[in-house]
Structure formats: structure tokens, C-alpha cells
Amino acid sequence: MSKRDFILVGAIIFIAAAIYIVNRVVIQKPADTVEVTVDGKQYTTLPLSEDTEITIEGVNGGTNHLSIKAGYAQVVEASCPDKLCVHQKSIHYNGEKIICLPNKVLVEVISGNKSSVDAVAN
């Protein structure tokens, strides 16, 4: 490996750390609302404080089973072949999300004030 390779690796780690810190400081606060989007359109909104279970109908007849328990939201079952959404960890902090690409389902937890920018302004 040449010297420039090390500079490259250093730069990548630096950028990753910078983005991570920004995310952590700006976005990560416990959320209170679960927002479900299908194909970019709003599907439903649920409070994170109430334990519930719903089945989300994604595109092309695909389904994702969403469970909200003790302030954490998680996709517990899905019709998609890869099950990436099921393997993702449960979400709790503002801005965290679970995505199911085949069904175009996006589950996001937010704190009342929608975007992180607003949260900072407050």
C-alpha cells in the first residue's frame, strides 16, 4: 500500500466519523411518533408510546408486519424474499428507520417536530 492509500483510508474514516457525529448530535433523540410511508406516500402515523401491531400493505401486494412495543418499533414479519427489514434492529431514536425495498415500505420514528432541522431550531 502506498502513502496515498493511507490518506484515502484516513479520509474515508474521517468523513464517516463526521457524518456519524452529526447524526448522533442532531438527530438522535428518543422519538414519539411512528410514521409509515409506502412508495413515498404517507400510509399511517402511530404513537410510539402505545403497544400495537399492524400489517402494512406495500406495493405489489407485499406485506410487512410492524410491532410497536415499549417505545421501540420493529418489523417482525415480511413477505419480501430477503427479509432485510426483519433483520434490522428495532428503532427508537428520532430519525431511525426501517426500510423494505421490495415493498417500498419506509417505517420511521420521529419526535413530534418532524424534521431534525426543526428539532434543532427548538
Binding site: R4, I13, L84, L101
Partner: protein
């Protein structure tokens, strides 16, 4: 010509099989899109022994074949974005001799992930996808370095034979 055709055939077959093997090795970091990038090993090697045109042909053929065999149209768009961005950047870095082999492979791994996350951000209409970027950057650098080290060893032996 016959030699060239057979070499391309072998490389495409290899890339195809490596893509399949990759599906069998699940890496779960809680972030979608993290994978070893084994198929990139072939594109990387092709870049050195066949030049950029050959590598481009092999990369695209692999994506189309794998897309039709193991996944769907959507996954294919996703692969094309990652595959092409990584190919272009690797080819440029090689042309201008910016990095060593390992460095070029790192560029490939990282840009592959960036290309994919850009498509994801478009599809789910959500720019916040970049939330996953730090993990994808580091994962791309690690897998890229591994593929680059492996690729350098393979190339050293291959060039003696070819």
C-alpha cells in the same frame, strides 16, 4: 480473438458464481446494502488484464445475468448504480495512477455503496437515507481493502500465466 473470447467467458462465469456465493454469506450489521463485493474482485482483475472496456463489458454482463437469475428489475437498477459508479471511479483512479491496487479497490468498495444508497434515497423519496452512510463508508473501505489485497495476489500469479 478466440483467446480473448474464452477469457471473457471465464471471467463472466466467475463473476456470476461469486455473486451467487455472496448471497449465501449473509453479513448483518443492521444496515441494508453491506456486502462483501466478491464479484467486484473479477471486475477489479479484469480492469488490469483486459483494460477498462473489457472490465465494463464484464461488469454489465454480470449485473444483467445476476439480475435476471437471482433477483428482479429493481435490484438490477440498484446494482447498476453501484456497479457503474464504482467502475468509473476505479477506472479513473487507475488511469491517473492515484492509488495502488488496494487503494483502487477501496475506492471501488466505497463508491459501490454510495451509488446504491443514492438510488435507495431516490426510491423511498427520503434523503435521510444518508443516516446509513457512515457504516456503508467504513464497510466499503474494509471490504474494498480485502478484495484489493486478494486481487493483488491473484493478479501477480495471473500475469505470469497470461
Amino acid at each position: 480473438m478466440a483467446r480473448k473470447t474464452s477469457r471473457y467467458g471465464v471471467l463472466i462465469a466467475l463473476a456470476f458464481i461469486l455473486s451467487y456465493i455472496e448471497v449465501l454469506i449473509p453479513i448483518n450489521l443492521g444496515v441494508p446494502g453491506v456486502k462483501l463485493g466478491l464479484a467486484n474482485l473479477v471486475v477489479f482483475i479484469a480492469l488490469y488484464i483486459e483494460g477498462w472496456k473489457g472490465a465494463l463489458a464484464i461488469s454489465l454482463t454480470r449485473i444483467v445475468l445476476v439480475g435476471f437469475t437471482f433477483s428482479n428489475m429493481f435490484s438490477m437498477i440498484y446494482s447498476v448504480a453501484g456497479g457503474m459508479l464504482s467502475f468509473i471511479l476505479m477506472a479513473l483512479c487507475k488511469k491517473y495512477k492515484l492509488f495502488s491496487k488496494v487503494g483502487i479497490s477501496i475506492v471501488g468498495g466505497v463508491s459501490h455503496n454510495i451509488g446504491q444508497i443514492i438510488v435507495v434515497a431516490f426510491v423511498v423519496n427520503n434523503a435521510d437515507m444518508f443516516y446509513y452512510l457512515p457504516v456503508l463508508l467504513v464497510a466499503g473501505a474494509v471490504t474494498g481493502a480485502l478484495i484489493g489485497l486478494l486481487g493483488a495476489i491473484v493478479l501477480e500469479r495471473l500475469t505470469k500465466v497470461l
